[in-house]
């Protein structure tokens, strides 16, 4: 157990290092002269040179790389060219918004994915299954920016079901006291259900869009795993004893199909926290790190973009490492060391 833990941690560490190195070299290719951008359009050559020196951009690429890796190990992501603030702080301050959106979306994706997957498995090869399959194809072929647009036009502007996409809280509500940074949670902790409700209503539409579009891979996996489990020898054993259908579905079917979901959650989290998030945060004026990344890209803000990419890469590696542990803990078969 200890050895596998060490090995996994080692692999994670190597991946994180790789993330750092790759990020450096990709962002090194970014067009434009970051120093000139930082110094501003009206800076003299001397000022630009000063800025270049300040950010260490006057050094050779290997020297910059050494500096960068040193900073990386000190968890220093540099200073934003745009705002002159430490990138780490800027990311941290925006992270709760992204986490609130991403985690809600992830929750929706998992609940929807498991629900539909199990439904399809129970109704396998029949009409219920077909309908779920149609959903899977449509949801995985839908462009997130398009459906977000359609949803805003109809659900928000047309029928007023959801609040206007102007950030995390509608007008008239003050952000709750910072505890977790998740408005809904913080508002509930502060005993302010009205604010919590308003925050949830604002959160719901972007989270739903992300969650629904992220769910197909979970549906597919849950469906096939549940079918496999329900058609397995051990489910047949359960039927031979005459266990009720519900017991077979939960104890034999779902219990065994949730395992592959765990590994898939990593991929879904990637979409929800980064891929789709950049676009959704743009469209919903959501003040998270996705919007930050996009602005940084627009402004060729080398350090901010680099910080974002590293943060996402590292977070992704960590998420997957944690999931591997969870998987090993949940699935007895993975942990072979216990056997002998």
């Amino acid at each position: 157990m200890l050895r596998t833990t060490g090995k996994r941690a080692g692999v994670a560490l190597v991946s994180i290092l790789g993330v750092a190195v790759l990020t450096f070299f990709i962002t090194q290719l970014l067009p434009g002269d970051p120093a000139r951008i930082a110094a501003g359009q009206y800076a003299s050559e001397e000022q630009v040179a000063d800025v270049r020196a300040k950010y260490g951009l006057d050094q050779s690429v290997p020297a910059q790389f050494a500096q960068y890796m040193g900073d990386f190990f000190r968890m220093d992501l540099g200073t934003s060219i745009r705002t002159d603030q430490p990138v780490r702080d800027e990311l941290t301050s925006r992270l709760p918004a992204t986490l609130e959106l991403g985690l809600t979306a992830l929750l929706i994706a998992v609940l929807l994915g498991v629900g539909l997957g199990v439904t399809a498995a129970v109704h396998r090869y029949r009409i219920g299954d077909r309908l779920v399959q149609v959903f899977v194809v449509l949801a995985s072929a839908t462009a997130v920016f398009w459906i977000a647009l359609v949803a805003i036009t109809t659900l928000v502007n047309g029928w007023g079901i959801f609040t206007s996409p102007t950030g995390r809280l509608p007008r008239g509500f003050a952000p709750p006291e910072h505890v977790t940074g998740l408005y809904v949670v913080d508002a509930l902790l502060a005993g302010d259900p009205a604010t919590a409700g308003a925050a949830l209503r604002t959160l719901l539409l972007p989270a739903l869009l992300l969650g629904v579009l992220a769910s197909p891979s979970i549906v597919k996996i849950v469906r096939s795993a549940t079918i496999r489990a329900l058609e397995s020898d051990f489910a047949r054993t359960s039927r031979s004893f005459g266990y009720p259908a519900r017991s077979i579905l939960f104890q034999d079917g779902l219990r065994n199909s949730l395992l592959p979901v765990i590994t898939n959650v990593g991929l879904v989290a990637g979409f929800v926290l980064a891929g789709g998030d950049v676009i959704i945060e743009q469209l919903f004026a959501w003040p998270g790190i996705g919007g930050y990344a996009y602005s940084s890209l627009q402004e060729n803000d080398l350090f901010a973009l680099r910080g974002y990419v590293i943060a996402i890469g590292v977070a992704y590696v960590l998420i997957n490492t944690v999931l591997e542990f969870v998987y090993g803990w949940v699935d007895p078969r993975v942990n072979l060391a216990e056997g002998s």
Partner: protein
């Protein structure tokens, strides 16, 4: 046995297989075929709709303009069809590139093992640590705004996926009994790789590449939507949606709705075809 028209037999066979096997696949082929045909034919016949103020701006869908006109007075239908060429061609090109490069790297990794394999696996680990769109976004930003760069970025983003798949399938095949038999028959490593491993493991990446085409179209549209892919005023579905965002919110839904619908139909068709191939080939 009488001489039969082999082509007709094959066609009949294919159609009947499709019909019996999967009505969804028939629909998917039909949809994709229609879009592709229109994408090729329409621009020749009616122009590619890139002339501003050819018509009045923001006319709603009608008989003359089935998808309406955009703010520049261009026919949205014509532009959607002109875009179809670019999007589908790019989706397919990305899929083929990913398939070839990914399978090659995967097969090499599986064949040579050890050092090469370890390096390739760590590299894919690292690449997979970045969600596809983010990776593509950063790469495009680095290379510069250009549809080709965006396509390359999408290719790079998907390659690790195919490498993984090709490698694991190649490893699976390599441990099969018939590989042992071939080795005992005197086949060299190269002969085993080219004659047994590749043909038997190729179909999995091949099936996957159909899905890659679907995802590539989505990602490419997303990049264009974010402004780093195809640049307006060139027609591309994602870019068209980006252009139509404002009009959409102010009540003219058609300039952005139809390109999105095209993406949906095309990507869904590739998905269905992928699922169908998956079932047929396994």
């Amino acid at each position: 046995m009488a001489v039969v028209d082999a082509g007709a037999a094959l066609r009949g066979n294919l159609v009947s297989r499709l019909r019996v096997g999967n009505p969804a696949a028939v629909v998917a082929f039909a949809v994709l075929g229609t879009i592709l045909t229109l994408g090729i034919v329409v621009p020749f016949v009616a122009g590619s709709g890139d002339v501003a103020q050819e018509y009045d701006g923001l006319l709603p869908p009608s008989f003359d303009h089935p998808f309406g006109t955009d703010r520049f007075g261009r026919d949205v239908f014509l532009r959607c069809m002109a875009a179809a060429r670019i999007d589908i061609a790019l989706g397919l090109a990305v899929a083929v590139a990913v398939l070839l490069v990914g399978s090659l790297i995967g097969a090499v990794s599986a064949t040579f093992g050890r050092g090469v394999d370890a390096v390739v696996m760590r590299a894919t680990d690292v690449l997979l640590a970045f969600p596809g769109v983010v990776l593509a976004l950063v790469i495009t930003a680095s290379l510069g705004k250009n549809p080709w760069y965006a396509a390359i970025a999408v290719v790079i983003a998907f390659i690790p996926l195919l490498v993984r798949l090709a490698r694991s399938k190649a490893l699976e095949v390599r441990s099969a009994d018939y590989i042992a038999a071939a080795r005992l028959s005197g086949a060299s490593t190269w002969q085993i790789a080219t004659r047994h491993v590749l043909p038997n493991s190729f179909k999995y990446p091949f099936v996957q590449s159909t899905l890659v085409a679907s995802w590539a179209i989505l990602d490419f549209a997303a990049l264009s939507f974010l402004g780093v892919g195809v640049q307006p005023p060139d027609a591309e579905w994602g870019a068209m949606i980006a252009e139509g965002v404002g009009d959409n919110l102010l009540g003219s839904w058609w300039p952005s709705f139809f390109p999105g619908l095209m993406i949906l139909l095309t990507a869904a068709s590739f998905q269905v075809i992928g699922d169908w191939l998956d079932r047929r080939l396994r």
